[in-house]
């Protein structure tokens, strides 16, 4: 039986990213980078699916997994990992990834707006 997916954002991991020397805006910077980076990779993922480029698709999903894991977006990175390992079919992966990316986007925006106030 497949294990349930982890939460959208791993707050314990995010707390661990701070070191004593970290800039107070470090996490905002990291999330901004992620929000800049994620749409481009998602676009490439979709483009590979439409063009049937399976090898490239795996590479882009791998990149997405890496970026997501760097910001504690564990739900998204776990989906990517399951697709990479073959335990999640493409037909299931895509709708779940779309939903996960929207939820991640919202969670990150909420985090950033909370930090602003």
């Amino acid at each position: 039986m497949t294990e349930p997916l982890p939460p959208i954002l791993d707050h314990a991991y995010l707390r661990g990213l701070y070191s004593r020397e970290s800039s107070p805006h470090f996490l905002s910077h990291l999330f901004h980078l992620f929000l800049q980076h994620m749409p481009e990779i998602l676009l490439q993922v979709h483009s590979c699916i439409h063009q049937g480029k399976d090898q490239d698709l795996i590479k882009h999903v791998h990149r997405l997994k890496g970026s997501a894991s760097c910001v504690g977006a564990t739900h998204m990175s776990t989906l990517c990992e399951r697709f990479e390992s073959g335990s999640l079919a493409l037909s299931d992966f895509i709708p779940q990834l779309e939903s996960s990316s929207l939820q991640t986007y919202e969670a990150v925006r909420a985090f950033l707006s909370k930090e602003k106030t």
Binding site: L17, S19, E21, S22, L33, H37, G66, S67, C70
Partner: protein, 230 residues
């Protein structure tokens, strides 16, 4: 220890750069591909490398042997999400000093980097000897000044070490032969040829250090900055 220079990152994910800079407190040079890194090769001045395995269609491990030859005492830490043991074995075989998995933990990253810097600095202090303005690296059989490096043969490096360890005293011909060739018979000509090569290399790299002949006695390595001879 090389505490100056850049952290060099070979990764296609800019988030990795942000985390490494925050963890180490140092500015980095970031390259998303092997070609981009090679294009800036001579300007790198690295004190350590973080290298991702999967770089789009490239394998970051392909660059490891070249890094190790050029900067033997700069630690190479491989970053990956791939927990495959074959990848780990391949990385270590190609010259990686350590491994760190994504998601990156800043505490682990810094601890691993400091441990590797420490062990390489200890190794460097054993394998590198300085005299005058020259640096002799035994493990890489190289002799260098601030700008250039020359590679020597095993016999040539042994000759130089023999003279260096005599600390400015005269080393007789037969002692040089025994130390460098052991029990093998060596003609005067062969010794002269090797000494000529070493002398020429030293002269090309330094105007302070030279190998002097004391006729009828032997040879000595001299520096105008005698205090610098270790």
């Amino acid at each position: 220890m090389h505490n100056e220079g850049y952290v060099v990152i070979l990764d296609d994910d800019p988030l990795v750069q942000a985390i490494i800079e925050s963890a180490t407190g140092k500015k980095s040079l970031f390259f998303p591909s092997i070609a981009a890194c090679k294009a800036n090769w001579t300007q790198l001045h690295p004190f350590c490398f973080f290298v991702d395995v999967h770089l789009g269609m490239e394998n970051g491990l392909d660059l490891l042997p070249a890094i190790k030859v050029q900067w033997p005492y700069a630690p190479i830490i491989v970053i990956t999400q791939d927990r495959n043991e074959d990848t780990l074995r391949e990385a270590l075989a190609r010259g990686a000093d350590d491994f760190i998995y994504k998601p990156l933990s800043p505490v682990e990253l810094l601890a691993r980097l400091q441990a590797r810097l420490d062990s390489l600095a200890k190794r460097e202090s054993k394998e590198v000897e300085k005299f005058g303005d020259l640096t002799l690296d035994k493990s890489h059989r190289s002799l260098s000044n601030q700008k250039e490096t020359r590679y020597l043969s095993p016999t040539e490096i042994n000759l130089l070490l023999c003279l260096l360890h005599a600390k400015g005293t005269v080393v007789p011909r037969d002692v040089l032969k025994k130390r460098c060739w052991g029990a093998v018979y060596v003609s005067e000509n062969a010794l002269n040829r090797k000494l000529h090569e070493v002398r020429r290399t030293v002269k090309e790299l330094s105007c302070h250090v030279e190998i002097t002949t004391r006729y009828g006695m032997g040879f000595l390595l001299e520096s105008r900055h005698k205090a610098n001879i270790l």
